[in-house]
């Protein structure tokens, strides 16, 4: 039970309290770029979730079972990037095969998941946070992706409303989006300190 609670806390922590988008400002490119419509935002969120879960788990495994025993911590970045690029490539093929319309809608943002800093971020933070078992790594990296999905979907929902509202001319487009992003971050600051 204690272990389950720890996992749940870890999960909630990365989704709400330590949300990568809101507290670390990682992954801002797709967060602002693909949040125009909620269906695409959700699709993007799912793709990122899949990649974070896959690459977070794989990098943890490689780190814990190969790199650390061999004292090759120095090669972490390059190994992680190889894993992430491979995972993204896999997702891209899958989406292209089974969701062609989503593939068209994502355009350049799909291969750009590989440069989404949320993903390298979670791989490196797993080590920083001292994740010491596989289950924890899986839960936390999946949670990170879900946190990103939550962020991008909230943003997309607000932007869909914004499209119909009377925004002052000087703030139309990017400025109001950035202000919205800032306010959302402030709102999520409310969760700070809930989970130690």
């Amino acid at each position: 039970m204690d272990r389950f609670t720890a996992l749940l806390m870890g999960f909630l922590s990365v989704v709400l309290v330590n949300n990568f988008v809101f507290t670390k400002f990682l992954g801002t490119c797709p967060y602002l770029g693909v949040s125009g419509r909620i269906d695409r935002a959700f699709g993007m969120g799912l793709a990122v979730t899949f990649v974070t879960a896959l690459s977070g788990t794989l990098t943890w495994m490689v780190d814990a079972w190969v790199l650390t025993p061999l004292h090759l911590e120095i090669a972490r970045y390059i190994c992680y990037i190889v894993i992430i690029a491979g995972a993204v490539q896999l997702v891209e093929m899958y989406v292209r095969k089974f969701f062609p319309s989503l593939y068209d809608a994502f355009g350049i943002f799909l291969p750009l998941i590989s440069t989404n800093c949320v993903i390298l971020g979670i791989c490196l933070f797993l080590d920083v946070w001292g994740t010491n078992n596989l289950l924890e790594a899986v839960v936390i990296s999946t949670g990170t992706g879900i946190g990103f999905t939550v962020a991008i979907c909230i943003m997309a929902a607000i932007r869909e409303e914004l499209a119909l509202s009377d925004v002052p001319e000087a703030l139309q487009g990017a400025p109001i989006t950035l202000i919205t992003a800032g306010l959302l971050t402030l709102a999520f600051m409310g969760f700070a300190g809930m989970i130690k």
């Binding site: 490689v62 190969v66 790199l67 061999l70 004292h71 090759l72 120095i74 090669a75 390059i78 190994c79 190889v82 894993i83 491979g86 490539q89 896999l90 093929m93 899958y94 292209r96 095969k97 062609p100 068209d104």
Partner: protein, 327 residues
Amino acid sequence: MTPSIYYLLFTIFDLLPGSSGRPDAYVSLLHNLQLSIVNSQLWSSAWPAGVTMLGLGLVFAIVLLVASERLKVPVDPQVEQIHQVLPHVECGACGFAGCGQYAPAVRNDPQLLGKCAPGGPTVAAQIAAILNIQISGQGAPVRPIIRCRAHTGDRTYFAHYRGIPSCTAANALANAQACKFGCLGFGDCVRSCKFGALRVVDGLATVNYEKCTGCGGCSKVCPRNLIVMVPFSHDPMMTVACRSKENGKTTRAMCQVGCIGCGLCAKQSDAFKVEDNLARMDYASYQPSGQNEAACKKCPTGVIVYRGKSAPAPQPPKARQAASSTA
């Protein structure tokens, strides 16, 4: 600590096929640079990095190789070529969502060849070349005509509309203007045009035929169905610029330039006939002729007008002509 790059360099050199260990030149180079890191102990701690990277690369290469076979999406090279020559304005004139959907469709069904309005005959010819087929003579390009010629001053209003400035919204309301057929002038068509070929001039949507590509986007959005696509076999093209089916008296009361269904045009030329109090014209078989010209001249309300790049300004209705000549 020692920079990791040396580990990797050594690894690469050692793993090169046919080389037995590090090249001597390379070692001496490093010695010359007075880097004291080169020793056998270093090598023994460096090779795991290379093997790890190689292993990782190999595993992912195999996984991706399998995936690329299992998840292969066959793309017809012809489809890609067609997609490249299309204009990429995603206007939907062809009846598909965009160029990306039209390309495979036209590949499978060459009957769809001439559907790309913005591309016109040039793109059709390019696609035909890619598909290695011959295009037979194409019909005249279609262009929109607006079946109304009433500017604000010609119309009658019962009230002033101050609602949402959109034709669709205004059309939902009875009596946004007296004529329930005529152009509302809020510019839904202007907003729908991807080529900037439409604008509202004094309350009447007006086509700039220089910019128009004939995609038909405007004809789809007009809530009063005023815009029709007709084959422009000639330029200027003679058109009936009214859609009012009210009887002559009612039309006259509401609009100074509406068709009153008098039938004078039909008496002059066979191209015209009057149905439901409205003059109709057979656009497909239009030829410039004296009879048609006479019909245009005779029209008491000036509803028969020329449209096109070189169209003359429409003549004012007879009543106003008389007024201006006596004045």
